[in-house]
Symmetry: C3
């Protein structure tokens, strides 16, 4: 039965567990999976550039023994001839076995999933969802902290527009005994609908602060985010705020010895490079974990589609 | 002996039969072909974007077990340094075993074929030829209607500039007992040289009309085409004409129960989406058939080149 | 032990010998190498377009049985979000086993090599180095002339900015008994630092001339170069000089019967097409040799990285 993943909440906590188990088995025994998708094709259908995400999906498919149809210019080709996303998805269904799609418009992945006869994985639709990034985050937390519970999780930077932060809160809110520390300037605070609908609704403890240094000592996980120039209406605000929440080796001295520092990448300067060699720096591990979780998800969806 | 395919008429009717037989065998027994081109490389050399065509060739090569060298930006790379198409073709001959080439200029594929030491398949050269699209059309007609004879074939929309329409007329004019119904506005009528040199020359019956609804009841095949904005000198003419020949579920009620509705895609709005679920809608089948015919052609040309 | 190749001089003459031996074995017994890199991935990370170089690396990897992650738009994707080359290299290290990187800035490949955890091959960094082009040149000289010694080597055209010329001089200066003939207009003469630091330092004989015809009869090798429009400050100088040093069939009559004519390609009009059929024309052989040397280098670096 064909099935698509548009939002991280499309996957139950049981399914997340199962995907993590598969990813860990892939890490332990990669050779067992080297031909798992032989003869299958992944189409990476990107309507806006995101080389990092595209490569992660393509590397995942190759490590499963499959092949890749790569479309980096979807917006300037079919779409420029006036074709709908639905028709593009239906056409690509004739060529590939599974689609990873990136699109600047919210909801585009869902439209594609409804039209396609093969599974569609949302690889980012505007400021909306990017479930495989959250899967990468979850595997990283599990591998570094051993559990999804009992954690004090700091989220720092752009909490207003940061898609990955909202998804991670949604995902972690399904596990008990966690606490969130929301660290941001006033202008980039977590939207009240997230606080209300997710944190307050579920009775999850959280605190808000504008000081990274004050928050740091109590954290088990620190999720840093990029402050994107394109989110700001004027250049002045961007320049003033982008450097406000920079983590460096000096600040890190006040943190726990087993803190897990995460970042969805690319970073600009939110994390100084003098942090990179610290064993608590986990952001490049996140990159690797993202590949393994994408492998697990591709395997799962192709298996379900064949049933 | 190396051989290229630039025009659909480069292939005899016997060769078309043989390619159709191969395509049907591929459909019936795909596993038999899954490694047929192992170790071989197809270069898709695209001097203008055509993602749909490129993916069809690449999917075809992967389903034959081969690999793909993909050049989507041929125009902005080598050509920008002043390199000739002939030199590009000669260079790519050092890297690949077969080339599928798309170019905005008529005749470019022939220039490449003459220079290359490997087979070249024309994947569209300007408004000129696009033989593998016609091959997709032919396989669709054969699979849907069972024969290439005794058919009343409607061609609707832009018959003046529509490359696929001219090629299909050329291809079908080689089979007996067919009749063409040419449905278009005055401004986009089939050029008189096609009528004279092909239809009249061979004594093939045809009629011209401006009314899709009047023509519909008698048709066995209806080939819809896109009215391309870039073909018009002014926007007004485009807007007035583009919606003139739209097929929808209501109009389709007057058609035969076994009508075969075709379209080379992408469509803009020439066929309403309420037609998609009708069993007579064959345009997504055409997409699949295009892949199978490209597989058959790649196989044939690589086999001949090896002899 | 991971190792990168940024400059042709990173490879000792013993290593060049070994790479040439591997390349010649690949030419003799390609089937032996068809699965040598099975399960491995090459990332072609191109921050500026160079389709010819990219395809050569990708064809090389496919002929070794490996896979390819292709990034043709590196400059417009990650970099546009402000990511450093070092972070890009570190991220790609999570996806691939080896990187071939092209970048318009001198030194970029070295920065990537220092950050990456996998081998990096410099596929051209600005006007600086392009070691695999020189490797292609060396294999061509070896196959055509049988040795790297006792040769009179003419270098013609843009000797001032021509990166490939400087690298070839550096590479050939390590072998005894060669003589260089430097053929160029005054404006495009070999920079004095190359003459002084390489040719004079090592006591290698050379002569300078502005006449291709005068130089031609004594040459064993003639290396033609493209005069690039982008090197000139004004259009007039470009137009006056670009046609100054054109080799054609008429001029070639005065040359030795076993002259080896080379060109790094793409050519504009430095070599007339009437030379192409002459057995002394070796520039398309260079293209093939480039592929074989890249295969040899990929094999070597992956083998060393695994140790």
């Amino acid at each position: 039965m064909k099935r698509s993943v548009i939002d991280i909440l499309d996957l139950s906590t049981e399914e997340i567990e199962s995907l993590i188990a598969t990813a860990q088995d892939i890490i332990a025994r990669p050779a067992e999976y080297a031909h798992a998708c032989a003869g299958k094709k992944l189409a990476t259908l990107f309507f806006e550039p995101s080389t990092r995400t595209r490569l992660s999906f393509e590397a995942a498919m190759y490590e499963l023994g499959g092949n890749v149809l790569s479309v980096t210019d979807a917006a300037t080709s079919s779409a420029s001839k006036g074709e709908s996303v639905a028709d593009t998805a239906r056409t690509v269904s004739c060529y590939a076995d599974i689609i990873a799609m990136r699109h600047p418009k919210e909801g585009a992945a869902l439209v594609a999933a409804n039209a396609a006869s093969i599974p569609v994985i949302n690889a980012g639709d505007g400021g909306h969802c990017h479930p495989t990034q959250t899967m990468a985050d979850l595997l990283t937390i599990r591998r570094e902290k051993g559990a999804f519970s009992g954690l004090t999780i700091g989220l720092c930077g752009d909490l207003k527009f940061g898609r990955t932060v909202h998804s991670l809160i949604n995902a972690m809110a399904r596990y008990p005994d966690n606490k969130f520390v929301l660290i941001s300037p006033e202008e980039l605070k977590l939207p009240s609908y997230v606080k209300k609908d997710v944190l307050q609704e579920k009775g999850i403890p959280y605190e808000q602060t504008t000081s990274l240094e004050a928050a740091l000592p109590q954290l088990d996980v620190l999720y840093m985010t990029r402050v994107q120039r394109e989110r700001f209406f004027n250049e002045e605000d961007y320049l003033r705020l982008k450097d406000s929440y920079i983590l460096d080796a000096a600040k890190l001295k006040a943190a726990k010895g087993d803190l897990c520092v995460m970042h969805p990448l690319p970073r600009v300067n939110e994390i100084a490079t003098d942090v990179d060699a610290d064993p608590r720096a986990c952001y490049f591990k996140q990159v690797l974990n993202g590949k393994y979780m994408r492998m697990a998800l591709i395997l799962k969806l192709l298996k379900e589609a064949a049933q």
